[in-house]
């Protein structure tokens, strides 16, 4: 009933390392079809060995991101209609990360940098103390809130040319997290954060290319967060001379 006599011409990147090749598939087109559905259809119906990753299927877990027609996308929430012109789709693993197999990228470097950027809470209180009262309208709090809904999908990481060009660069998501923690009034070690983002691959490597912000599926603004870090580190540079 929903099936139209139409097909999508899908090219999928297969393999890993030196053995990467492209394979073409014809996939029936449906209404309400997402890119993840297209990939799933191939695996479930024609090529059982096709590998991809997903979990939540509703844009919460950030594990399904791939390159779709050259652009980084969360595939579970990307409608085919939104990205395909003339029924053509080209699907590849996320850019800027090692490929494990087919459409699955190794996200370890991404999370390694997340921790390296001190994107981790430094407690001021323990579980035996009451929860801190914090004015939700407070300026720092509002700033922290802006980046808090990141689902670590690495779409921004894949979009950024600086990440491609500079292996040390921590990347937009990790830096945005660092900025969020930095603005958290509950955080005890702001100078550790500034130190972490002031090194070789820190926030200063960002050229404000803005692809991160452009592609973030959650409409977050890592570019702005990184600018915040540049500002904060500059201030502390003048104050402390380092």
């Amino acid at each position: 009933m929903e099936v139209k006599a139409e097909f999508l011409n899908v090219t999928v990147s297969r393999g890993s390392g030196d053995g990467v090749y492209q394979e073409a598939f014809q996939v029936p087109a449906y209404d309400n079809q997402t890119v993840l559905d297209v990939v799933s259809w191939i695996q479930q119906n024609v090529d059982p060995t096709l590998t991809y990753r997903f979990a939540c299927r509703v844009g919460m877990c950030g594990s399904c991101a791939m390159m779709v027609n050259g652009q980084p996308r969360w595939t579970c929430r990307t409608h085919v209609k939104k990205v395909s012109t003339n029924q053509k789709l080209k699907i590849e693993p996320l850019r800027n990360l090692p490929v494990i197999k087919d459409l699955v990228a190794d996200m370890d470097p991404f999370f390694g940098k997340w921790v390296e950027a001190e994107g981790v809470h430094h407690p001021t209180r323990t579980r035996y103390e009451p929860i801190e009262q914090i004015d939700p309208q407070d300026a720092a709090r509002t700033t922290a809130n802006e980046g808090i809904e990141c689902i670590n999908c690495a779409v921004c990481y894949a979009a950024c040319d600086t990440v491609t060009n500079n292996a040390d660069y921590l990347g937009p998501a990790a830096l945005q997290r660092a900025w969020t923690v930095y603005n958290d009034v509950k955080d005890a070690d702001k100078s550790a954060i500034l130190d972490a983002v002031s090194g070789k691959g820190g926030c200063h490597s960002c050229h404000s290319i803005g692809s991160c912000t452009h592609y973030c599926p959650n409409e977050l603004n890592p570019m702005q967060a990184i600018a915040g870090l540049k500002r904060a580190t500059s201030k502390s540079f003048f104050k402390k001379g380092r």
Binding site: R95, S211, M223
Partner: protein
Amino acid sequence: MKRPARTHPLWLAYILHRLSGLILALFLPVHFYVLSQAITNPALLDGFLKFAEIPVVKVAEYGLVFLLAVHMFGGLRLMALEWLPWTAPQKTLAAGAVGAAFFLSTIFFLQAV
């Protein structure tokens, strides 16, 4: 190859800034060399300045000043973005910078011819 579309204004601003900086950096030694001829070989410098009257060279010169202006405003835009608390109409700033650069270098160009 995996290559995200980069057709958004900020990416263009970035590549323009980078290329203009690079070309300026390549041109600068030449510029310095020519100027230092002022002592050792004034005729050469004069010759160069004459040479600079040729329209093609004029356009190239115009290009360099244009690049300098583009790069400078691009750079100022970046620093404003980084150091001043961020305001939303970012893209307007980028466009404005390029516009101003055009304006300046056009004046220069018109003055020159």
